[in-house]
């Protein structure tokens, strides 16, 4: 098959993946953002483990201490305390893994749906494509936010449900993207060849087409994480998010908003946490996109 590959000559020097990696490494902002994402991941995993083992560090995020309520940042409570005297710093660190879990799992849900739907539509084309895309249109017609609100009210605001609901309403973009990729790919020589050799649909989709669409899907995934985190925060703000006493960045702000004029630290720090996390993911995603974009190499 090598002889039939229509890649330009320089391809011989390195694989596309290696080139993408090289380009990514050259992007300082992207590297920095990726580093930040890794730090967040480490924090999340660490506190997930600590929480599971029941080790309260730096303090137990759920233990109240009424004598020390609503204290501004101080040497003991670095980021102050909330209305029940709980340590904001500890709650923030513990909230990290919930918020990030919401981000990652919701994206996985939306990716699975989006990729499947998009792949089926793009691969089969014709009336299948037409039907599926009309359904996608229909889903896009719903005012997403009301849909989320009603759905959360319907199934209850557990972490699991919120993840599912956010995932369920955010797959349409991925589906459209994958469909577009597939519509192009199905005309490509090697898919035509595979078809001529009598391979069946699922095999072609998963063996040949999906790997070739992996790069844009990865980018969508990374860009989807912060969107899910922000969506959870917005839901929490309206009281539809993950419920206290479980801390997430969103509901620390939601709880703290009542005290905002008397205790600014309750919303400033979690807000910054959301901002930094979302920004890191967006910049990483953008750097990834630049690195895998084939056309930009001609620049």
């Amino acid at each position: 098959m090598i002889t039939t590959t229509p890649e330009p000559l320089e391809a011989a020097a390195a694989s596309p993946t290696a080139r993408s990696l090289r380009r990514f490494r050259a992007n300082k902002t992207g590297l920095l953002a990726l580093g930040m994402v890794c730090v967040l991941a480490v924090i999340a995993v660490t506190f997930f483990v600590l929480d599971t083992l029941g080790i309260p560090w730096p303090m137990d995020p759920d233990t109240t201490n009424l004598e020390r309520k609503l204290l501004p940042p101080n040497p003991v409570n670095w980021l102050g305390t909330d209305n029940l005297g709980r340590d904001v710093f500890s709650r923030l660190l513990n909230g990290a893994y919930i918020s990030l879990t919401v981000g990652f799992v919701a994206v996985s849900v939306s990716l699975s749906i989006g990729v499947t739907v998009g792949a089926v539509a793009g691969y089969f084309g014709k009336w299948v494509d037409n039907l599926i895309m009309r359904i996608v249109d229909a889903v896009m017609c719903f005012p997403t936010f009301f849909l989320i609100l009603t759905a959360v009210a319907l199934v209850g605001p557990s972490i699991f449900n919120i993840i599912i609901v956010i995932g369920l309403v955010s797959w349409t973009g991925t589906a459209r993207l994958v469909r577009a990729e597939f519509l192009t790919l199905r005309e490509s020589a090697y898919v035509q060849a595979a078809r001529a050799l009598g391979q069946r649909g699922p095999k072609i989709i998963f063996r040949h087409m999906l790997p070739n669409a992996a790069a844009p899907i990865l980018v969508t995934a990374v860009l989807g994480v912060p969107e899910a985190i922000l969506a959870e925060a917005g839901l929490s703000f309206l009281g539809f998010g993950v419920q206290p006493p479980q801390a997430t960045w969103g509901n620390i702000i939601a709880d703290g908003k009542t005290y905002i004029l008397d205790a600014w630290w309750l919303i400033l720090f979690p807000g910054l946490a959301i901002l930094i996390a979302a920004l890191s993911f967006y910049l990483t995603g953008d750097a990834l996109r630049q690195a895998v974009e084939t056309r930009s190499e001609r620049q």
Partner: protein, 320 residues
């Protein structure tokens, strides 16, 4: 073309039917009673609740309720449970404020997005581009309610600036200009927060589109002809990059209506988002169903219009 429009219209009606069906079931299956008085009101007896359920057909099986709601909706007779006013009138009442807010946000995100995007594309890869890029991502990453709160506190505590509603209440202005500026401010404040994300998205979109266009053959030709770089950039590349942007506006509609909930609440702005949000909280089923239906209809119509316009503008596109 006429055949295409008729076919799409018919398809849209079928689609609308399914949308209304799905949204009706999601909405009515949501637990909660739509009683307009507090549920835990010791004064309200079973008898009163029964009368109320009968009045709004809530005692009927779901498929019949759906029938009643759709019949009333299409004849314009559908009433809100909260205040028993026709829901279409309630939606229409919010339209001016919602339009002002969303047009304001749209104008801001398009104009500033264009500015930032073109600036980024002009200096692609160099430090101005990097800075605007990061700025754009900071904008997207900001939680809207967080910014609103910080801004509200800042404006009120340090400037005693009125920020609530559609205009300052309790003041007589000396002239029409002041009245206009007052209203302008009350629209533009929430609109700018709403537009923060939009600016970022649009600027990224335009930047990418510009860079793409600059690689096209006719740009190379123009450059080869020795045209001034600024002329190439602003006259040829820019014009061709904006076109897809215009058709994409239609898709923004549902997001704009839904996305304004939090900001309308904070700034006490009487828009469509608040209507929907309050309807969710109060389980005002008719209002919610109607709101979903009207939005969906508008979006479908918008999509159709965009397609038709595209065909009119671009002779290469043929509608079948």
């Amino acid at each position: 073309m006429t055949v295409f429009i008729i076919r799409r219209l018919l398809a849209s009606i079928v689609l609308l039917f399914f949308i209304s069906l799905i949204s009706f079931f999601i909405i009515t299956l949501t637990p909660g009673s739509p009683y307009p008085w507090g549920e835990l009101n010791p004064k309200v007896s079973e008898d009163v609740k029964r009368i109320f359920r009968e009045k709004f057909h809530l005692d009927k099986p779901l498929h019949k309720q759906y029938g009643f709601i759709m019949r009333d909706l299409l004849t314009g007779e559908l009433r809100s449970i909260k205040d028993e006013r026709p829901v279409l009138a309630k939606i229409a009442e919010r339209l001016p404020a919602t339009l002002a807010l969303n047009l304001g946000a749209l104008a801001l995100s398009l104009s500033f997005g264009l500015l930032l995007g073109v600036y980024g594309a002009r200096y692609a890869g160099r430090s101005p581009d990097v800075i605007t890029s990061i700025l754009a991502f900071v904008f997207i990453a900001l939680p809207g309610f967080w910014v609103s709160y910080l801004l509200a506190i800042g404006l009120v505590n340090y400037g005693a600036v009125p920020i609530l509603g559609t205009h300052t209440i309790g003041v007589t202005f000396s002239n029409g200009l002041e009245v206009f500026l007052d209203r302008w401010w009350h629209v533009m404040l929430p609109a700018s927060i709403l537009a923060i994300g939009g600016v970022a998205v649009q600027s990224r979109f335009i930047r990418a589109s510009m860079i793409e266009t600059l690689r096209e053959d006719y740009i190379r030709t123009a450059r080869a002809k020795g045209l001034d770089e600024n002329a190439v950039f602003y006259r040829h590349a820019l014009r061709n990059s904006i076109r897809p942007l215009i058709t994409g506006i239609g898709m923004l509609l549902p997001a704009l209506i839904g996305g304004a909930v939090i900001i309308e609440n904070i700034f006490a702005y009487p828009g469509m988002g608040r209507l929907g949000y309050e309807a969710v909280l109060e389980r005002d089923y008719p209002t919610l169903v109607a709101l979903n239906f009207v939005t969906a209809a508008l979006v479908l119509l918008g999509n159709l219009l965009a397609d038709v316009l595209y065909a009119v503008v671009d002779p290469r596109v043929r509608l079948e």
